[in-house]
């Protein structure tokens, strides 16, 4: 009797251990690939946004359905993300300098400015290069305007929506 109890206990422990191990094996981590990504309450672009995710953020995959993943963030927030905004390997882009730049760039983009013609964009080194290489003022101005050109994240999002692209695909 005593032996039987011990056997049952051993089997229970084994079952629990196997369950835990399979849980570990099934747990998949993905990383936010897109520059901006939204975590939604459901698997459509019409569902409520429950969190704004950061580039490179790790997410635990709970379920896969169609082109969407149900995930949990490190902070414990559950929701759905469009699968194409994730990657299974940690994105390589962005050392410290780039990460800093990304932050400041996003701050600038948050404004609704779409273009700021005439803003100075060329730095001293490229100005010096332009002088030495005999680049005309017209061409300097063109690169200047290109450097200063801005489009807000929301404009890109609206553009995707209008075209039925990304998570707005029909």
């Amino acid at each position: 009797m005593k032996r039987g109890k011990r056997q049952r206990l051993s089997i229970m422990v084994l079952v629990i251990a196997l369950g835990l191990l399979s849980g570990i094996a099934l747990a998949e981590t993905v990383f936010v690939q897109g520059k901006t990504a939204k975590l939604r309450a459901g698997k459509t672009s019409l569902d409520r946004v429950v969190a704004d995710l950061k580039f490179g953020e790790a997410l635990e995959v709970l379920k896969k359905e169609d082109n969407w993943l149900e995930v949990r963030t490190a902070a414990g927030v559950k929701g759905w993300i469009f699968a194409n905004k994730t990657t299974t390997t940690k994105p390589s882009g962005g050392d410290d300098a780039l990460a800093k730049l990304g932050k400041s760039f996003r701050r600038t983009e948050a404004s609704d400015v779409t273009a700021s013609a005439g803003a100075r964009g060329l730095d001293k080194a490229s100005e010096t290069y332009a002088n030495k290489a005999g680049i005309t003022q017209q061409h300097r101005d063109a690169v200047d305007r290109m450097t200063a050109y801005q489009i807000g994240d929301q404009d890109v999002e609206d553009f995707l929506k209008e075209g039925g692209l990304g998570e707005y695909a029909k």
């Binding site: 050392d95 760039f105 290069y129 290489a133 680049i135 450097t147 404009d155």
Partner: protein, 265 residues
């Protein structure tokens, strides 16, 4: 630090030691990755040459905005989305596109005329974005820096030694515009660019369609695109990545939007 040690050795009369320290610094700095500030200066300088040699950029604001919106959508899904990507149309009838470091991307008016829908444009811009995200041109510069024995890095170097900086840029421009990058880098950019565009939801077969039309138009000789592998090789590479990545030909083309926003029709 290195310069102080070098000076100290020279003051002590040991010129040989000073030269060794200088050489060590050259080797180490040549192996260091190029930081973003330096990349930005390099990118701007190369962009100046691209604009100068290809007739300037289009001044049509609607076209510029459209190309930037498509480009930004594709860039947001690439492996390096945290840098600013900017796009412009060059006033040139040749069929080509270029990328300079730090996200300066150009497509010629001639190539725009061959493109039939937004999915094709997205893949073309994706190809150029891949050159930036994979730092293909920076690798060329890095090699040149090592060969030139350049010790300093960044803006300080460019400002203190503008002649040497010009030498590096001119060599990179020659490689980019005249000789072309290594063929495997072009193939990698084709494959990655199509993957980036497909991630947005564009049809990945659109790029194959464009490459096939260009092949029919210009033949399969590298004399046309001397800076790129021939079209057959590129088409095969794109088809291979579509298969390996499981990209389905069921994405969006957006031909009407392309006609409306790029040509006003």
């Amino acid at each position: 630090m290195q310069r102080a040690a070098e000076d100290a050795a020279r003051r002590s009369g040991d010129e040989r030691l000073a030269r060794t320290i200088h050489g060590g610094g050259t080797l180490i700095s040549g192996l260091l990755p190029i930081g973003y500030d330096e990349e930005s200066s390099i990118g701007q300088a190369i962009a100046l040459q691209v604009v100068a040699r290809y007739g300037g950029v289009s001044d049509q604001p609607d076209l510029t905005r459209y190309v930037n919106l498509v480009g930004r959508a594709v860039a947001s899904t690439c492996d390096r989305p945290d840098i600013p990507y900017r796009f412009a149309v060059l006033n040139h009838d040749s069929i080509n596109a270029f990328a300079a470091p730090a996200g300066y991307i150009f497509v010629t008016r001639g190539l725009m005329a061959q493109i039939r829908n937004e999915a094709e444009l997205a893949a073309v811009l994706g190809h150029e974005i891949a050159h930036v995200s994979q730092k293909h041109i920076l690798q060329v510069i890095q090699r040149s820096k090592r060969l030139a024995g350049v010790t300093e890095a960044g803006l300080a170097y460019a400002n203190q030694n503008p002649e040497a900086f010009k030498g590096l840029i001119d060599a990179a421009v020659k490689k980019l515009l005249d000789e072309g990058l290594d063929q495997e880098k072009e193939i990698e950019a084709d494959a990655l660019g199509d993957v980036f565009a497909a991630r947005v939801g564009y049809d990945p077969t659109a790029y194959v369609g464009l490459l096939n039309r260009l092949k029919a138009l210009k033949g399969d000789d590298r004399a046309f695109f001397k800076t790129h592998p021939n079209f057959s090789t590129r088409i095969a590479a794109v088809q291979k990545v579509m298969q390996s990545e499981g990209l389905k030909p069921n994405g969006t083309l957006l031909g009407d939007r392309f006609a409306r926003l790029s040509r006003g029709s």
